[in-house]
């Protein structure tokens, strides 16, 4: 039987110029439950489905605050995510202490990118087995980045990673043009709807398994203050879940729901 000799470590190129260990690490991301992120001109939201190992165990958290202005959603190895999360917290806090401002989200993301790249070029190291969506607001507004185990980081308008996330991405691509002008509540609703696309057949969004996080930029004219990154769980997300559930039923009734709640 043919055996692939080129996939034992991350310092060996295949004859096609691929590094299989890195590609396998990317597979680990697909094992994690799905997370979705979307940006508008004013806000960035993350939504996630949490999983529990068994009926009586608690749910694994998916969304984490890093600093006042930025947070992450994770898919893949949770313990690898914790390493990156701690690193990001240190960098972000250090920046706040020395310059008295929020660290630009791009700089923060590029730092974990570089950190992850090193793991793909040295023997004895392994790539991180986790993908992240990094959401935050800074002086230039709201941002959403995707981080991959290869060290690749890219800024997105909206994105989804994790198990069955292709369905969520299809939803996002379909509605891409609407996001920019969305209000806070509208954006969350889109996030939850994208999330639902990726659920397995008879699974539903519940207050137990759903997490939502939001951050808002300060308005350019100084009117609105920045909304700090905050994660919502449990009963706090009930209204949002119900709002998208209603809509589905309404849609089944023939009309697609246009009467969405717009943030005042």
């Amino acid at each position: 039987m043919f055996r692939n000799n080129y996939d034992n470590d991350s310092v060996t190129f295949s004859p096609q110029g691929r590094i299989f260990q890195v590609e396998y690490a990317a597979e680990a991301v697909k094992q994690g439950s799905v997370v979705v992120g979307i940006t508008s001109k004013t806000h960035v939201v993350l939504v996630a489905v949490k999983r529990n190992a068994e009926e009586l165990s608690s749910y694994q958290k998916k969304l984490f605050p890093i600093d006042e202005h930025v947070g992450i959603a994770i898919a893949g190895l949770t313990s690898d995510a914790r390493v990156l999360s701690n690193f990001m917290k240190q960098q972000s806090l250090g920046h706040r202490l020395t310059y008295g401002r929020s660290m630009p989200v791009r700089s923060l993301v590029e730092m974990i990118g570089s950190k992850a790249q090193t793991n793909t070029q040295h023997y004895g190291k392994r790539p991180y087995g986790v993908g992240l969506l990094v959401a935050g607001v800074d002086e230039s507004g709201p941002h959403l980045f995707e981080f991959q185990p290869s060290g690749m980081t890219e800024e997105m308008v909206a994105f989804a990673i994790g198990a069955r996330s292709q369905m969520a991405r299809t939803y996002l691509e379909k509605n891409l043009d609407k996001f920019a002008s969305c209000g806070r509540e509208e954006l969350i609703a889109h996030g939850l709807k994208a999330l639902k696309e990726s659920l397995v057949q008879d699974k539903e969004l519940t207050v137990e398994n759903t997490s939502v996080a939001v951050a808002g930029a300060k308005s350019k004219d100084g009117g609105a203050k920045a909304e700090p990154f905050k994660v919502y769980d449990g009963q706090e997300v009930n209204a949002w879940i119900e709002s998208v559930a209603d809509e589905k039923e309404a849609a089944a009734g023939g009309e697609s729901g246009e009467g969405m709640d717009v943030d005042a």
């Binding site: 202490l97 020395t98 310059y99 008295g100 401002r101 630009p104 791009r106 700089s107 800074d138 002086e139 230039s140 100084g222």
Partner: protein, 270 residues
């Protein structure tokens, strides 16, 4: 006479006395800078409605010698802030190089979707951020017992585009005020500036022309009284529109008539 090889080429103890080892200490605590060497004198600055005016003369003194007369003590940062240096000139040069590197680093992270380079710079480090950074830097150096022997004024705008002015010194002491002056200026120029802008509200009423006039007046008074000053100076105005920096200005309308009336010093007999 000592003929041992160890003594070859050394001053003879019997002629010059024993070598004084205190000049080259082998033991005792390690010491860094104990005093400045080539120095710049006052920096003065005042806020006005839309920005800040800052000035410093072009002299670097070596003790009481007017050693360099074309020294630029106002430095720009990212085209949005001005830093004015008093104190040791070589430490200022070190800081200037350090800030240049910081500015280059900062430019790497510019927001790529910004409309223009200028717009991107506005999203970069502002004067308030720079102040915080210098404050940490100066305080760290003093805790290392290796201070940068300077008093620094930082002029620019804060995150809300409001005028910003602050001071940091070699001890890491830092504060802000509607008007600030270092060195001799703290005694001679500060009271003059307070006449025009005692509070933030007063400063917000000043026009650009008024503020420039006050600073020029201060530079003149300092030149009259500060023996380590010069009548050639640099002046910068920082506003939203950017920095207007002039580095070779001449003090105008000097009048030394008052000198005639000074009695009681030196060799005067009358």
């Amino acid at each position: 006479m000592d003929h041992r090889p160890q003594a070859w080429g050394r001053p003879r103890d019997d002629v010059y006395g024993a070598y004084d080892h205190s000049y080259l200490q082998q033991s005792g605590p390690k010491t860094a800078t104990q005093s400045p060497v080539v120095t710049g004198t006052s920096v003065v600055a005042i806020k006005f409605k839309e920005g800040v005016v800052i000035a410093a003369d072009n002299l670097a003194s070596y003790g009481s010698l007017a050693r360099f007369t074309d020294v630029k003590r106002l430095r720009t940062f990212l085209g949005t802030s001005v830093v004015g240096f008093g104190g040791d000139v070589s430490d200022m040069q070190w800081l200037d190089r350090h800030l240049k590197e910081l500015a280059i680093d900062e430019a790497y992270d510019q927001e790529p979707t910004a409309e223009s380079a200028e717009a991107a710079a506005k999203e970069g480090l502002n004067a308030a951020n720079l102040y915080k950074y210098l404050q940490k830097l100066m305080y760290k150096r003093r805790n290392d017992f290796d201070p940068l022997w300077n008093q620094i004024l930082i002029a620019g705008l804060d995150e809300d585009d409001k005028p910003f002015l602050a001071s940091v010194d070699l001890r890491g002491t830092s504060f802000t005020s509607p008007s600030l002056a270092t060195g001799f200026g703290a005694m001679l120029a500060q009271p003059i500036m307070r006449l025009h802008a005692a509070t933030e509200e007063d400063a917000a009423k000043l026009t650009r022309e008024q503020a420039v006039e006050v600073v020029k007046e201060c530079m003149k008074v300092l030149y009259y009284r500060d023996a380590r000053s010069l009548d050639r100076y640099s002046i910068a105005v920082v506003t939203k529109e950017g920095i207007d920096l002039k580095e070779d200005e001449q003090l105008e309308k000097q009048s030394w008539a008052f000198a005639e009336r000074i009695k009681g010093y030196g060799t005067q007999t009358v």
